[in-house]
Symmetry: C2
Subunit: 320 residues, 2 copies
Amino acid sequence: MSADRAVLGLDVGGTTTKSLLVDVGGRVLHQQHRATALGTDPVATLADEVDRLTALAAARGVTVVGAGVVTPGMIDEGTGTVHYASNLGWRDLPLRAALAERLDLPVTTGHDVRAAGLAERLLGAARGLDDVLLVTIGTGIAAALVSAGRPVTGGTGAAGEFGHAPIRPGGEPCPCGQRGCLEVYASGAGVARRYAARTGQQRSAAGVVGRLDDDPAAREVWAEATSALADALVTATLLLDPAVVVLGGGLTAAAGDLLDPVRAGLAAGLTWRPPPPVHLTALGSSAGCLGAAALAVQHAGLGDLLAGWSSADRSGVVVG
Amino acid sequence: MSADRAVLGLDVGGTTTKSLLVDVGGRVLHQQHRATALGTDPVATLADEVDRLTALAAARGVTVVGAGVVTPGMIDEGTGTVHYASNLGWRDLPLRAALAERLDLPVTTGHDVRAAGLAERLLGAARGLDDVLLVTIGTGIAAALVSAGRPVTGGTGAAGEFGHAPIRPGGEPCPCGQRGCLEVYASGAGVARRYAARTGQQRSAAGVVGRLDDDPAAREVWAEATSALADALVTATLLLDPAVVVLGGGLTAAAGDLLDPVRAGLAAGLTWRPPPPVHLTALGSSAGCLGAAALAVQHAGLGDLLAGWSSADRSGVVVG
């Protein structure tokens, strides 16, 4: 019975750490979201969390056969060292080796957005497709690329840092020190900051989207966000020719208000070729930890079982 | 003796068709450049050329064991059908199948810029590297990407159409119908057109580069070209994280006048990460047909021999 064996998937973000207990057949048994609070010894804190979730599983008669932990940043996928993760304050942390040393459980690590891309391919909006561009739009913006079924990690593990592409050359300053970065215009933080600069009012990006019907400033800021995103997708499409573009992250809550102008802008910006389909994530904010769990299943030598994940019951997952 | 067995590599361009006879060990035995004149039956013309070169080889006691033919355009690498090649006027031409039908020789086909990328990895400026971005800057601009040792072809074979990335959004019109494309500013045709628009004088891009010391208009147009190219490379580097960027195509004749500002602009546009090294092609305009020959060697089941190509005598190759 696959229900007796499960894996843990942890998605460690700058703000929230999401954890899933998933049986090896893909059924979600337990889900939790917590504020990330890693203290002075992040590896010990994460190992404790894995131990706690393993004990919780055992109490339910479930044996945990592995854990996958994914993080943002520049990651050497070969060694599992996180070279730089600004949101977590990590530099050259040998995460995989350090976790393996502390845990009795087989543990693997990966990149949060690339793990989300894996999950979208297994059971989400890119199911069955081999050439995928996933762009997550939250506080910041990052991308995961899949080419011919394999994740593109880059020469130093830093592929996908799409948020700082100079989409509006010479444009508004970015906290990174450059000007005109995609994130300046199209990230959640960027939308909120640009709306505040124009109106003096502090609102979240979701709050700005909620005012599109009645507030010209909200419409203007949002139109500039979706236009910048569409231009960025034109460039990525020309370069990479994805079979599908999947938008993930918090801003996908805007649904059609995001999707419609981005689709229109992408189609308008392409010559000679049809635009690839653009879809919203089917997995919401759980994509990263589902991908982390899938990595754990692969690491446990049970990768063949992932073919069945798309038909598993995920009613336990809160999408959003 | 590998010298007794050879392959043909043909690089069919909009203006020039370049052909090489290369022994399977990588030694160039014969090279020719001719104006492309394919007539009404391009497959028959190309097959005749292959037959002629095969006879020429036979007269020298060399047996041709395969041919590789590479072209620009959107190509299905699986079937060898060229879906669209604007410079050749082709649409949905089943090139590989049609050539195979006419020739007794094993024949394979491919994409010109991706073949150049293969050659640069085998024996050029990207030797031994698995994550490569090759950008060819000639009349137009195209790119070849290699990720973890494998060419990125995209979902429809159209990856690498970098010349039409909207690098200067809302900028000058491009013959493609869009505005602000990379090619508008940084291609040979773009540099010549922008110089003529500013001065009323017709000069080639090379002519513009030749005037940098004395002509402020030339300096301005060239600075805008290298700045647009650097910005495009910033975006591509953030997205793909190449271990090396190789610049190929006719504009590489500008040497340091191209390389120095592009390197400086790429470094200045990146935050948090060092720029990848940028090199000029080591193979010049022969990169495409060397890659085509390498494809033929692979197709003949002799791919193991390619490891020896980097040390072969290529003194017969005119680089330029």
